[in-house]
């Protein structure tokens, strides 16, 4: 979708700029160019000046905010990160008692964060990509937009509601399943150990997480599947490929980098998700790969902050802020890698640059905006296809 827009928008912008410049040079001859005034600085209108500085100012303010987030987390986190936890009186008590330093504390939490997100991804990513495929290539065109809207509704459900749902529905639902896994597949370390009787396991938490990351994975992959060049698809079908072969031959190669970054953005969402984990699992700060045990569920950073923040002393709060800083760094890294993969994908194409997919502008796409945009995109796409085929006809 944004591919169309990035390719479509520069032209009006540059032309309007050109026209500005042209009218800016006009005053020397005719002296009637108000549009060029701001560029030449001959007669700046106050409204223009204020508006320009306001919008530039807020763009810069966004940089300030992001820098502020990092800065304040560092300022508040540093005292606890550098402190010696075994001797410091306010850290040598309560939930930070057992740890000698910050890294000992944050290590298992980091592990738990990555582990639960990885499980959520293993469950959620294939389903999410499958749904995207269903909506983009299998569902009847007329209902596809509506089906996409339904999946996007999942993104609108507040996380705390998913947490409550996990407590009431998912925990009991997974109990018999995890008992079965434990008795029959207990020799696999994942399913070993003392099976939980309450269901507050990391498996339950990750299942809820996977539901929460579905919409982001689906909406991004869907947009990218829809960007597949129509001619590639039609060529594959014309050669006698079945629909699945067409998808494997035309859609997947084209959307590969997009799928990877959709998955990574889903991972980013899962890493930072707090409430589902905090409400569902009964945590322990340890490194364990067991999924369905009582008290061997690795805690995540976000859930740990949420659980301990209200009962923490000042320095303990700073310790929690330090763990939050780690989470910030990781999810930043994941997000940047995800964006990088897409840009590298588009840069690697060389001459075929325009044909590579780009990420849709809003990752967790707002629903109705997307649907209206889809219509526009369809029209643009049709237009482009027409242009393409005309160009090809000309070259032939």
């Amino acid at each position: 979708m944004s591919d169309d827009m990035t390719s479509a928008t520069p032209s009006p912008r540059t032309t309007s700029r050109d026209s500005l410049k042209n009218s800016g040079s006009a005053p020397q001859g005719g002296g009637a160019g108000n549009g060029g005034a701001s560029l030449r600085g001959s007669r700046v209108r106050p409204g223009d000046l204020i508006f320009h500085s306001l919008s530039t100012g807020s763009a810069i303010f966004i940089m300030v905010i992001l820098a502020g987030v990092a800065l304040f987390l560092i300022i508040q986190g540093i005292p606890a990160i550098v402190a010696d936890w075994s001797t410091d009186p306010s850290l040598h008590e309560g939930f930070t008692l057992a740890y000698n330093n910050f890294w000992q504390y944050v290590g298992p939490l980091l592990y738990g964060t990555l582990f639960s997100s990885a499980i959520a991804l293993v469950i959620g990513a294939p389903i999410g990509i499958g749904i995207a495929l269903f909506i983009s290539h299998y569902a009847p065109r007329r209902v596809a937009g509506f089906l996409g809207y339904i999946v996007d509704l999942l993104a609108a459900v507040p996380s705390v509601v998913f947490g409550l749902w996990g407590i009431i529905v998912i925990r009991p639902f997974l109990l018999p399943f995890s008992e079965w896994l434990n008795t029959n597949l207990g020799w696999i370390p994942l399913f070993g150990g003392q099976v939980s009787t309450t269901g507050s396991t990391i498996l339950a938490g990750s299942v809820v997480l996977s539901v929460m990351i579905l919409p982001i994975i689906t909406s991004i992959s869907r947009e990218i599947f829809l960007q597949t060049p129509r001619l590639h698809e039609e060529a594959a079908l014309a050669l006698g490929a079945t629909r699945w072969e067409m998808i494997r031959l035309a859609v997947f190669p084209y959307a590969k980098s997009g799928i990877v970054s959709a998955t990574l953005l889903g991972l980013g969402r899962a890493l930072g998700e707090t409430m589902a984990i905090a409400m569902i699992i009964s945590p322990a700060i340890l490194v364990s790969i067991r999924l369905i045990t009582e008290g061997e569920n690795s805690q995540t950073i976000a859930a740990n902050i949420a659980l301990n923040f209200p009962i923490a002393s000042t320095l303990q709060r700073q310790a929690l802020i330090g763990t939050g800083l780690m989470l910030f760094v990781i999810s930043l890294a994941v997000n940047i890698i995800a964006r990088y993969i897409v840009t590298r994908g588009s840069a690697g194409g060389g001459g075929k640059k325009r044909k590579r997919p780009t990420l849709p502008i809003t990752p967790m796409s707002d629903t109705s905006a997307t649907t209206t945009l889809d219509i526009v995109t369809e029209e643009q796409k049709l237009g482009r296809i027409a242009v393409n085929s005309r160009a090809e006809g000309a070259s032939v």
């Binding site: 912008r13 549009g35 389903i127 749904i131 299998y138 999946v151 999942l154 996380s159 980013g268 209206t372």
Partner: protein
């Protein structure tokens, strides 16, 4: 073609070579029905279970379809049908949690929803000195808190977001480093974990106001960190959809850049912008973790966003389960009530957004 003729020759097939070697059209439907009945019967013997029935039906359907298709048709078509089945099942898998969540919230929350619940401030209030807990159902303090905090967050983020998107679309030179950096940073900001935003607001205000820095305003700051990138994104998207011809026509008439944007570009895109803003409000109104960090929780009615903890609906739903009072059932009921109210708010915001998009859409865009 040669495959078809070979097959036709081998099977001694009927004259219609176009449809030979294909499953009839009614095959898929009848296999679904057959596998539903069969797995229902099997489960009747073992003990019926709705979810188990659905799962078994799906598995039986996929297996039977795959086998039949690879016998009657060929392996390629069998794979094709199998993938179609799997993909459809994946879609149903996504619908199940949505329906189940909404059903659970409505069925559990409807009992605690009443006029009193909305107009009364209450909850289980805990007196630390006497260890006494009193319970009154009520969510007024949470409703007011949610509206105030979200309102302030919107007041902060809408101007910043809108002006930033105006900068990106109208003012920045194509490829200028500031535009590229801001675009990149907005991308990065969408990935900030919500709890980190809460920690940021808490850190900021604890430096200014000391260690007990809980306030509604602080929570609003946290929410606006989350809201600004989505506002920028949706506004940018909408502004870019405004045809360049309109700008050029306006500029060519000698209208200043400011008037062009304010009188031509913004009114054209206003429906989309309002929709995007509504949806981003709906997104942050349900955020729990940042509000919990920055505004903490309380059962007292507090309408002053600059002083003391403030209760909100998502936090009320969370604390009702995480820190229940002595009367656990009452706490849980209050939590479900709050969750239902929250879902209703989100639904209303989404509906408004869709109506705005439908009613105020510029003429001729459809």
């Amino acid at each position: 073609m040669s495959l078809l003729t070979q097959r036709a020759a081998r099977d001694g097939a009927p004259a219609n070579s176009l449809t030979s070697g294909q499953l009839p059209r009614f095959a898929e439907v009848s296999i679904i029905g057959g596998s539903a009945v069969a797995s229902g019967l099997v489960l009747m013997l073992l003990g019926f279970n709705f979810v188990g029935w659905l799962v078994l039906t799906a598995i039986v359907y996929l297996v039977v379809l795959g086998v039949l298709s690879s016998i009657v048709e060929n392996r390629r078509k069998a794979t094709d049908r199998l993938v179609r089945g799997i993909v459809s099942v994946a879609f149903i898998l996504a619908i199940v949690p949505l329906v189940s969540t909404l059903y659970t919230v409505v069925s559990r929350g409807i009992s605690s929803l009443s006029w009193q619940f909305i107009t009364q401030s209450g909850g289980s209030s805990f007196n630390a000195d006497t260890l006494e807990v009193t319970n009154t159902p009520g969510a007024l303090q949470a409703i007011v808190g949610t509206l105030i905090i979200t309102g302030i967050a919107a007041l902060i983020s809408i101007p910043i977001g809108l002006f930033t998107s105006i900068y990106l679309v109208e003012y920045s030179l194509p490829g200028s480093w500031l535009a590229r950096t801001v675009t990149m940073l907005v991308d990065v900001m969408t990935g900030i974990p919500s709890i980190v935003a809460g920690l940021f607001a808490f850190s900021l205000f604890s430096i200014i106001m000391g260690p007990k820095a809980f306030s509604g305003f602080s929570a609003a700051v946290a929410l606006s960190v989350l809201m600004i990138p989505t506002v920028v994104r949706s506004c940018e998207e909408m502004l870019r959809l405004v045809p360049g011809d309109l700008r050029e026509a306006s500029l060519a008439l000698g209208v200043s850049k400011f008037s062009t944007i304010a009188r031509i570009v913004l009114p054209t895109a206003i429906a989309g912008i309002v929709t995007g803003i509504m949806l981003s409000i709906a997104r942050v109104i349900g955020e729990t973790a940042p509000i919990f960090m920055a505004a903490s929780f309380t059962d007292n009615f507090n309408a002053n966003p600059f002083d003391g903890p403030m209760q909100t609906l998502p936090v009320m739903a969370y604390t009702g389960f995480a820190f229940p009072g002595t009367d656990i059932d009452a706490s849980h009921n209050a939590a479900w009530g709050a969750a239902l109210l929250l879902v209703l708010l989100v639904v209303i915001l989404n509906l408004i957004a869709r109506i705005v998009a439908r009613v105020f859409a510029p003429k001729g865009s459809r």
